[in-house]
Amino acid sequence: MNLSDSERVISVLDKAGYTWTDNEEEAGLIGILACSVRQKAIDKVYSRIHKWNKWKNHKNLITFISGCILPNDHEKFLKLFDITFQMKDLPQLPEMISRYGVTTSIHLKTGIDPHNENIEQFWDVKPSYQSGFEAFIPIQNGCDKFCTFCAVPYTRGREVSRPSKDILAEVALLVSQGYKSITLLGQNVNSYGLDKRDEEITFTELLRQVGELGNRMEKEFWVYFTSPHPRDMTDEVIEVIAGYPVLAKQIHLPMQSGDDKVLIKMNRKHNMKKYRQIVHSIRRLIPEATLFTDIIVGFTGETEEQFENTRKAMEEFKFNMSYTAIYSPRPGATSHRWDDDVPLEEKKRRLHKLTEELRKHNRVYNRQLEGKTLRVLVRGADRKEGYLTSLTEGKLIVRFPSDDKNLTGQFADVKITGSSDFSMEGELVNIEAFA
């Protein structure tokens, strides 16, 4: 989400005449798009702004901050940053900067608006896409789910859906420009349209229209979405994904825990029976789909037995990827008021155990792909000298020997010759060829 936001910030600043520098010390304007999901990221913000404010003793510098900010941090940032604004007010950033006199102490700020009014003006900003083949399209902002470990409802405000005609227009534009990988973004992406019942189409219908657009345009591209909430995941969504070639056969379905009682405490509003039903539907309707998830280990009060249920769930669902996080209380989230009572060492042990479980399944999964030819999207040079790296439609990593960086952003067919736990190796068979 922050990457997508930053593409719009760059676009606004480009238009205002600013030029980008990779050298922090050279900059006259420095901004941060904050993320409040973890305390560590916010700690870094404080560390940086103290450094930049010291620089102001010997140079002209304007600082701004936006993004995902909790009310308590917001109050502190007002004193530390020159400009604090909500992302929906991004179009006014150049005006805010021009009003800020370098030698004055004018405070420019907008408060936190939980209703996300005027968010459309942010979506209307044409982003400055940072990649020539991969783009992210925000379709929804905010969250009404109030999971106890998360502060997003307090930082991003309520769920608001972007007009579908604008989303479809952006998809069409990107595809016509040759983009190959498009991700529809939202905090609860499949809650799309629920805030505007009878006025806006549903998430299922949005996906169907994207699929139809793909059929009409006769171009090869893959459309992903992230992150969905199991509560709003329906068989209809899965059926639509199955029915259209451009809708990528990769589903990210955050589980968070494999134990019903932990899910209750997390206020997730889905139980393991519901989760299991969704996974069965995915396996039945799209057997080739890869499945990704998010898991938190060591949530407050998580017992060994409850953790074991999560490990068993991992064994059962055979995820292709799990973004597993060690629980850390975030000020502003409800669970911050509870004891963080699982020792760090124990949390690390649980994380390690889940990683091993993931590794075990992936080893088997990747091995059975050896000898097969897979369609991949080339992403650029690999860390391994003389190799390019790529992703399959299911977002599995495939590297193959080639120095030809011109292949970046192109589809290719690669024959898998070897595999390891989290990636595969192959030989280039064919380039593009679809359209």
């Binding site: 009310p71 917001h74 019903d260 009682k261 209750i264 139980n271 393991m272 009060g301």
Partner: protein, 189 residues
């Protein structure tokens, strides 16, 4: 403000950053919005709420939440409501909105005097559990009471209160043969 019974609102004094969530206590057809607030004397919000006078302004955000209740949504019409403390709020709203419900409410408090407005419920439909005195119908925790009860397997069970109670009650109900999908929870913090 239209809401589904069981939903909550966020309350905040204008110009302050501290806010809290409260389930709506009044019925969906009432022409006012009522919440039940337990004062936390060292808290940042409730002491200020207590000092409010008629005419003072309060920011109300919402409604939110998925602990929604409409009897038509459920396969069986036998309802068990289990609450601790101010967790009685959603059930008060349920019963005010749907007065002809077939329900039984188990409400746990420390002392009988903390039983809020029980006169709004049918006397035969409520069991008051008290841990600090003997003024209720049962002396002990709600979970101890639940453990003594026979339940029909299709009973729709709603739990609202502190997470320890909900976790214990969840175990007791599932051991008694209630399907997980017939247990609905709202954790209070």
């Amino acid at each position: 403000m239209p809401f589904h019974t069981g939903q909550f609102v966020i309350l905040r004094r204008p110009g302050t950053i501290e806010q809290r969530e409260y389930t709506v206590y009044s019925g969906a057809k009432d022409n006012f919005l009522e919440v039940l607030v337990r004062e936390v004397t060292e808290g940042k919000v409730t002491p200020r709420l207590k000092k409010m006078q008629p005419g003072d302004q309060l920011e109300v955000d919402g409604p939110f939440g998925f602990f929604r209740f409409n009897p038509k949504m459920f396969p069986s019409q036998k309802f068990l409501f289990v609450a601790t403390g101010s967790g009685i709020s959603p059930f008060h709203s349920f019963v005010k909105t749907y007065p002809s419900l077939d329900y039984h409410l188990v409400h746990g408090v420390r002392f009988g005097e903390e039983a809020y407005e029980h006169h709004d419920f049918n006397k035969q439909n409520i069991t008051l559990c008290t841990t600090g005195d003997k003024t209720g119908n049962f002396m002990g925790r709600v979970t101890q009471f639940l453990a003594t009860q026979k339940l029909e397997s299709d009973t729709q069970c709603f739990l609202c209160g502190n997470s320890e109670m909900i976790q214990e009650a969840f175990d007791i109900l599932t051991e008694k043969g209630i399907e997980v999908q017939n247990i609905y929870t709202e954790v209070y913090f």
